[in-house]
Amino acid sequence: MKLTRRQALSFSTGAIAFTLAGMRIGPALANAEDTSAAVQAFSGGAEPQSGMMTLKAPEIAENGNTVPVSVSVESPMTADDYVESVAIYAEGNPNPEVVVFNFTPMSGEASATTRMRLAKTQNVVAVAKTSTGKVYIDKREVKVTIGGCGG
């Protein structure tokens, strides 16, 4: 088969595009839709309200390997009205799930702190579920200088 100049050119551009696609660095990352689907599944479809929960995270995280994050929810924490669980999601990580805190009336307060990994600059979302069926949400953007997911 004899290649014309035009065919040869189109072949080579195709090959370059293919190589570039294969070279996409790092693992596939989650996105905002995956996160909102996860939030929906967690809240059982209830409409989340904002204001009752505070999500604390640094505005700029230099090292994505350990980003401190804390949540606290205003709640009386009595046997019939307490915060059952708080889930944290990271929109730009390979998997959006970060952690689920389960509280009991014995917790006294619905607050917890941990350290998480963030792959890149992204939104962090916290969702709380109370024993009375209320759902609270809070969101914070964290700028990440060095990502923390290897790859």
Binding site: S70, M77, N102, T104, M106, R117
Partner: protein, 108 residues
């Protein structure tokens, strides 16, 4: 990691009804399952996936952990103390290993 060592900070005593803060840390590398070794093979996931805290046998706090939690997972949370007793802390790993430790608290 064979040497996962739990460290827990609980006040020695509290007054009845006081809400205390508990800090816990366990040394564990929390292999996320996303990293690759020099040959390009994926290093299998091996993390602590569950942490629980009990007071005199009653659950106080627990969390379900995903690989997005940093190495040496650290948790800070609160507990309401009504009586003297013992806090028990349990970490469970993907590899089935269970690490636990206990701390006593007295009433003022």
């Amino acid at each position: 990691m064979a040497t996962a060592k739990p460290r827990v900070k609980v006040p020695k005593s509290a007054s009845a009804g006081e809400v205390i803060t508990i800090k816990t840390l366990i040394s564990h590398n929390m292999e996320s399952g996303q990293r690759k070794d020099k040959e390009g093979n994926v290093i299998p996931r091996n993390i602590i996936n569950k942490f629980e805290c009990f007071f005199n046998g009653t659950p106080v706090f627990s969390c379900d952990i995903d690989p997005a939690i940093s190495a040496n997972p650290y948790f800070e949370f609160t507990a309401k103390v009504m009586e003297a007793g013992t806090f028990r802390f349990v970490w469970t790993g993907d590899d089935g290993k269970v690490y636990d430790t206990e701390k006593k608290i007295a009433l003022d």
